[in-house]
């Protein structure tokens, strides 16, 4: 290929990508404009860069609190999913029998169930647990985390299961002879070997839980408990007409996602590919 062609193709590709992400540009530039300026020229840069709409959006969305809630729920849910799923998958592979097989089949089969099929009975069950047993499953972070562990179990066990099968037993056996307990063997020898799958599970579950709207909208009623998607939805319920303010809010919600992407880009792309191909 001629050099001129190469430059042309490269710049065409880059131009296309920039155009592809144009919606994000529109949201960001318009978050700095006032109402009149916004509708005068939607595509233009703002005449001045002030952060007053961000200040308002930050307060109205109670953004920092929502950010904290999202972080707590995402980190705690994923921590528990990773720990319990890797333990379960390892045990299922290492004691291969009919029971283990059946458990694995059930876990995989339930991946076909859409959330909408169980959302109502799930809420009934959780309110029943709250009312009859006094365990606060509804409108608490703990209850939501509990539900995320349940919903995240299938896929995580499935991914770990495939990987454990490729790990030789010999290391574990020699550690047993050295006097390690089963948990010691798992935690000190097996869990570190599972790291590639752990990274995949973390990435896939961050994308899922961080952005999830429906489940938290059904379980978290009070304002103080809201996650980022919930506070965004509530904010839009109030301010649909005030677009400049809304766009400041949207920009705020995108910032953590982009930061996460830039920090862990390679892992994310690898994890997403590995998770899908399995």
């Amino acid at each position: 290929m001629k050099k001129g062609w190469k430059i042309a193709l490269n710049s065409a590709l880059l131009a296309f990508c920039l155009l592809y992400l144009f919606p994000i540009y529109i949201i960001v530039v318009n978050s700095f404009k006032n109402r009149a300026e916004l509708y005068e020229s939607i595509l233009a840069l703002p005449s001045k860069w002030g952060f007053e709409y961000y200040q308002t959006a930050l307060e109205k969305m109670d953004f920092l609190n929502a950010l904290k809630n999202s972080l707590v729920i995402t980190v705690a849910s994923i921590g528990l999913i990773v720990l319990f799923s890797s333990m379960t998958a390892w045990m299922l592979v290492r004691s291969a029998n009919r029971l283990s097989n059946a458990i694995f089949m059930v876990l995989v089969a339930t991946m076909l169930i859409p959330f909408q099929t169980i959302m109502m009975p799930l809420m009934q069950e959780m309110s029943w647990i709250k009312n009859s047993l006094g365990i606060p499953m509804v409108n608490t972070h703990g209850g939501l985390i509990f539900m995320y562990v349940g919903f995240g179990a299938s896929m995580a066990v499935f991914l770990y299961h495939g990987f454990v099968k490729t790990v030789p037993r010999s290391l574990e056996e020699s550690a047993t002879i050295d006097g390690c307990t089963t948990f010691g063997v798992f935690w000190r020898i097996v869990f570190p070997i599972l790291k590639p799958v752990t990274v995949t599970v973390i990435i896939l579950d961050v994308i899922w839980i961080w952005n999830d709207y429906l489940l938290p909208s059904l379980t978290l009623a009070s304002k103080a408990n809201r996650t980022i998607p919930l506070s965004t939805a509530a904010f839009f319920g109030q301010f649909t007409i005030q677009w400049n303010l809304a766009m400041a809010g949207l920009t705020l919600t995108i910032i953590p996602v982009i930061a996460f992407y830039l920090a862990a880009q390679k892992h994310i792309i690898k994890g997403v590919a590995a998770g899908a191909v399995k």
């Binding site: 990508c17 045990m91 109502m120 349940g150 179990a153 047993t176 998607p229 992407y261 997403v272 899908a276």
Partner: protein, 291 residues
Amino acid sequence: MKRLTSPSWYALFTAPLLSVFALVVLVPFFMGIGYSFVTWDGLPLNPMEFAGFGNYAALFSDGRFLDSAKHTMLFTALAIALINALALAFALVATSKLKTRNIARTMLFMPYLIGGLILGYIWKFILGDAFKAIGEATGLTSIFFNWLLDPTFALLATVAVTTWQMAGYIMIIYITGIQSIPEEVLEAAQVDGAGFWRTLFQIKFPLIMQSFTICLFLTLSNCFKIFDVNLSLTAGGPYLATEMFAMNIYNEIFSLSNFGYGQAKAVFFFIIVAGFTLAQVAATKKREVEA
């Protein structure tokens, strides 16, 4: 070795996850089948009346439900075609020899990380107010008008936004497939004088059949179950013209308080999703070839 997997360790390792899983997924699933046979408004004090298969029979004469089925089918068919075509094109570019391919991959994947709800709100502004303003400023009002107020264009808008969200994700899977094609095979094709299109259709496509299976499966199940983008972009409007399956179920249960009937829809939804995805995987699996 026996000590490593004794019954008590087995229980200790699997019980925490499996008990949570049973309570969160299995119990509600079977409860849901039960609820689908009763008539109930969701208030604990009001009685449930056994309806037999009445709820299921009513599905087929429910105009709003059948409309939502039509929207979902149309939306899913268009979105699957568009997402996969675009993702495949992106993947071919991202595996080319162009220097900007890695930056392109990074940028094209980004929308997938922004959640459906937020994404829907972003596009609500662009396809609504922004399009209208651009139309007024340029006079091109046949393209630039508020898409979300027109029933046909609102559905197309949902297709466009879902494509924007998912194309980069599906691209990653096609890239994995293309990169797994052995270099020798492509070189041999080149030596034999196969051009770009011939290599594409007779070498690359047959060898990435597995990627097609995965991508069709993922786009089918994701599009069929669309909810977040549907809610934030159009909320099912205008005049329910974009109300999809999942949203119809949600509205039946939580807005109209028909818990039993809504749950029958939810169970029916499960049967369709499971049936479609299993049939599709089986069909495409047959066509996979080994390199």
